[in-house]
């Protein structure tokens, strides 16, 4: 073909060499690197990933805190002895403590002494209280081995005949209520997470399709120059995988940063009333390895979702390309 004498053919060897050298550079990618739709897609993915990761982290936090509440409460039981006529309270406390301490599954007992009891009542009755003047019930805290809890019914049966005014409270009602509340909170959290994830999936799918709409002419040209469908799909899949991962990584990193800042804030303000209140409710704001793993997984899933959507769009476009109406000519 090159030996044809055409007027503008310039075949000087030197110039050819120079030209060949000039074209020895990196070829432009088949799918253009970025356009406005592509940048918007990265931003949308980043925002949705950020929200998803925050929700996931929050749910992890609530779930962990709920399980901590549950365990802390169930680690203890209380023996309460009401003062009755003729009862030697200190002897009764010692006896009840001894009976409870002998049961297998009990790791220790602690009598709440007079001062501690007075302190407990202080918010209601003020300072300078003489506890002996009032019929105040006294408490024994029974610490329980969570893995091997004692038989509370047997313990109750052992204490009550000897000390009729004693009552054993295994916190079952309270624990059950708290567990139910914790489970409800976690369930609501997971429902919110499911909604956020669904919204993320739909947003990513529609944003990817929007970004793909501007690439129809590229698919068409590739198709008409004889590119195989799998080649075209691969090019777009790779491009959108990178785009999706970029956005998702930015969103995930921002969410992790938020958790690190909260964690740092809570540890820095430790022992202040606000921090104590926050810590009592939410633990120390650390989302733990599960949280970080979840964020990482979310980045991968969102990247894969973007790639899969672009793949499906290319396949649909290619199957549609040959049946569209041509321009009249």
């Amino acid at each position: 073909m090159t030996d044809i004498p055409v007027d503008h053919l310039q075949d000087e060897a030197a110039e050819t060499t120079a030209t060949v050298r000039r074209v020895q550079r990196k070829m432009a990618p088949i799918v253009p690197a970025q356009n406005i739709a592509g940048r918007a897609l990265v931003l949308v993915i980043a925002i949705m990933t950020f929200l998803s990761c925050l929700t996931f982290g929050a749910v992890t936090l609530v779930r962990d805190t709920a399980s901590v509440w549950e365990n802390q409460i169930s680690r203890e039981a209380t023996v309460q002895i009401k003062p009755v006529e003729g009862l030697d309270m200190e002897a009764a406390l010692a006896q009840a403590s001894q009976i409870a301490g002998e049961f297998p599954g009990v790791t220790g007992t602690k009598i709440v002494d007079r001062d501690a009891t007075a302190r407990l009542l202080e918010p209601w009755l003020g300072t300078g209280l003489n506890i002996d003047e009032l019929p105040v019930p006294r408490l024994i805290v029974v610490t329980i081995d969570e893995a091997n809890p004692p038989d509370f019914a047997a313990m109750r049966a052992a204490i009550t005949p000897k000390l009729p005014s004693a009552a054993l409270d295994d916190h079952r009602t309270w624990v059950d209520r708290l567990v139910a509340m914790a489970h409800t909170t976690v369930t609501i959290g997971f429902a919110v997470l499911a909604l956020i994830l669904s919204a993320t999936v739909l947003t990513v799918v529609f944003a990817t399709r929007g970004a793909m709409a501007g690439n129809g002419h590229i698919i068409e040209v590739l198709h008409f120059v004889g590119a195989e469908a799998r080649f075209i799909a691969r090019e777009f899949r790779w491009h959108f995988l990178v785009t999706g991962m970029k956005g998702a990584a930015a969103g995930g990193a921002a969410a992790i940063a938020v958790f690190i800042v909260f964690s740092w804030w809570s540890s820095r303000n430790m022992a202040t009333p606000q921090a104590d209140q926050a810590t009592a409710l939410f633990g120390n704001f650390a989302i733990g390895s599960t949280g970080y793993l979840g964020v990482g997984l979310m980045v991968l899933v969102i990247g894969a979702l973007t790639a899969a959507t672009s793949h499906a769009t290319v396949v649909a476009y290619l199957s549609d390309i040959d049946i569209r109406q041509p321009e009249a000519g």
Partner: protein
Amino acid sequence: MIRFENVGLRYGMGPEILRDISLHIPERSFQFLSGPSGAGKTTLLRLLFMSLKPTRGLITIFGKDRSRISRGELPLLRRRIGVVFQDFRLLDHMTTYENVALPLRVRGREEANYRTDVTELLKWVGLGDRMHVLPPVLSGGEKQRAAIARALIEQPEILLADEPTGNVDPPLARRLLRLFIELNRLGTAVVIATHDLGLMEQVDARRMILAGGRLDVYD
């Protein structure tokens, strides 16, 4: 090489756009496809390029029945056909060189193996000094030549050109026509869809006239 027998085409339940088209495009032949605007020239080219399926009749392309060609086989057969689109369809984010090299790149060929071929072809069509320019800054004629070079880079057995001189002045149109004639002399069958009578008068070639959905061939 390509044969149509009583081919008809309609879109959906609409009227037939093409009716009882019978033609044969032999190897190394040169022909014009002409007719008024809206007569269906582009549609007929799309049938030749296998981007449309006829609603009736038989099309044989490179010895294969069109109705039996699977989707997977299409890209391989299309590589034997070069197409110059009316609107060029160059990719704006790629240089002239990259656009022309695209058919080779999508086949997975290494750039080092085709660099010289692309460079020489671009010089042959007179774009040696516009190789690293993006299409938006090319003139209509330059875009046209880049599109022609892209269609030729794989040395196709047949070249289909849709109004290749529609956007250029008469002297450039004559140059492009010379280019097509040279290409045909080298062994490529050429079909040029045009309604430019002046262009057709410059060459004594077969004319296929499309009007009212029917095709008349004047050898």
